[in-house]
């Protein structure tokens, strides 16, 4: 496998894609809560000042106003740090967006533990869990610039509310430009009979690298991008479960209520009982440090993921 090439942060890809789309469609609005800088939207604001609405630091109002704008036909991209967007304004997401069916596109920026040493107030490792329990909102975590571009393009006319979350760091390119992307459909990067990594969002690149390490040891390893947690591509997981010995889920989220929980529940209810490891942030006061250090501590790095897979594989054989 050739080495991966490093590209832009997904946030930058998001901002550039949205600027290009909004230049052609005056109904596209960015609505933001004092986050145009961290959302990489300063060029958007300068180029299309009439298409950016500033709300200030008031997340409840941010989401409520977004719902009102969307109900009047605007294509609303609501941009705020994921940590505040999905907790401070959760009731507005539940009622004004999802329940009232106002198709707002909620963009959670600097998601997961992107804010690193700023600490738990700024981490969002609960967002999949809470949003999965709310009806009528789709959830997508793009892994690379390609998935980011594709989901933002798809979001413009997406008929339902959608939550898209992104981190701050430059991402590796994981897909070829001709890859098929659809909200709710997993992307199978490779198939393997020993181990399959199922990752959502930006940790996918670590899973790809872990697979590379294991392949060098002669193992057969698959990697699947589960960019959409809702709709959830159950068929892709059930297919993989039929031909792989070990499954490892990887997410920048609590191990409770996210990708791993969804996979475990799906497999059990369909009669599969594979060796499954759920890798994410455990239920504890999250270790302090940079995003990289946090990932390293919890084994969300290529070597850590490879070791988890190895141990799980060997555990059964002993």
């Amino acid at each position: 496998m050739e080495s991966l090439s490093l590209c832009k942060p997904n946030l930058e890809e998001f901002a550039q894609t949205l600027l290009a789309l909004a230049s052609q469609n005056k109904d596209i609005l960015v609505v933001t809560g004092d986050s145009r800088g961290s959302g990489k939207l300063v060029p958007f604001g300068k180029t299309l000042p009439a298409q950016i609405v500033e709300i200030g630091i008031a997340e409840q109002n941010l989401v409520g106003i977004s719902a009102g704008l969307a109900s009047a036909g605007k294509k609303v991209f609501t941009v705020a740090p994921a940590c505040f967007l999905t907790s401070r304004s959760l009731e507005q997401i539940k009622n004004d967006v999802a329940y009232s069916d106002n198709p707002v596109k909620l963009i959670g920026i600097s998601a997961g533990v992107s804010y690193g040493a700023l600490g738990s107030t700024h981490h969002s490792i609960h967002d999949y869990a809470v949003l999965r329990a709310i009806h009528n909102i789709d959830i997508v975590s793009p892994a690379d610039n390609f998935e980011t571009r594709k989901v933002i393009e798809a979001a413009v006319d997406h008929p339902r509310p959608i939550y898209i979350r992104m981190g701050k760091k430059p991402m590796y390119d994981l897909h070829t430009p001709d890859t098929r992307f659809e909200v709710g459909k997993a992307i199978v990067l490779s198939e393997g009979s020993d181990v399959t990594f199922l990752a959502t969002g930006e940790p996918l690149s670590r899973a790809v690298m872990a697979a590379h390490l294991l392949e060098q040891e002669g193992l057969s390893v698959g990697v699947i991008s589960m960019h959409s947690l809702c709709p959830f591509d159950e068929a892709a997981i059930l297919r993989a479960a039929q031909h792989t010995k070990v499954m490892v889920s990887v997410e920048e989220h609590s191990v409770h209520g996210g990708l791993g929980s969804l996979i475990a529940s799906l497999l059990m209810q369909n009669g599969f009982c594979p060796r499954l490891k759920i890798i994410g942030i455990p239920d504890e006061y999250t270790v302090t440090g940079s995003q990289k250090e946090i990932f390293c501590h919890y084994g969300i790095i290529p070597e850590g993921l490879a070791e988890t897979a190895r141990q799980t594989l060997n555990a059964k054989e002993n």
Binding site: G64, A67, G68, D96
Partner: protein, 284 residues
Amino acid sequence: MDYHELAYKSIQYRRTILRIIKQANAGHTGGSLSCIDILNVLYNHVLNVTPSSFDDPNRDRYIQSKGHSVEALYTVLADRGFFPQEDLENLGRFQSHLIGHPTRKVRGIEQNTGALGHGLSLAVGTALAAKIDSKTYRVYTLLGDGELTEGSNWEAAMAASHYKLDNLIVIVDRNTLQITGRTEDVMSLEPLEDKFRAFGFAIQHVGGHDLPALVKVFEQIPFKPGKPNLVLAHTVKGKGVSFIEDKAHWHHHVPTDEEYRTAQAELDQAERKWQAKHGIVEPL
């Protein structure tokens, strides 16, 4: 519509509110009777929206933030033909769309409300869309006074004046009661006018059961170009039935059989009084 016709409707609306709450054995009696005259004037005189224009992007919008007073809204929407009158009988029934808070599954309803402190932000967003698109529709939202303690209202109030939304009309149903008791005992709201003025609103006071005054106040919109409008409607919770008026426990009390008969008898009397003045009319 003449004032006396509006007055006749208010009597009939009160009858319907009590009837459907009694039948469903649940509902917000006090608040619905408090805001019904406002809804009467809005839907019969002010709002540029009809069942056939409900999908028109240029229609006026009404968003009821105090969603619990939904029996008043259903009553008026049914009377205006947004859905058949007989649907009112389904209030609260299994699998009925007519639940205890507004839902868009009922034609005529703009937003699903019920959690307090949401309507104003929704209304601000909708009014802002009109400004962005140079449309002329107006957005009306009805807030309870009890819900003004929700901080989200003040976030929204700030945004309304920041964006100079003179196409936004905020009506506060100021009946001075909430479920626990007097608003001023639960958490002081006064000086309420000063608060809204400081947030940049142009304000008019009105008697919330004075139909000619309500008509007149809405005719003056915008009160001041470039400023969001606040109609501070002074109301009586439970208005129209003597023993329900101004009593906190009638917030969601359902009349007993005896109370129901007495209440309808009071409304009979109000109707006879009206007829003595204006003559018999066909029932609505």
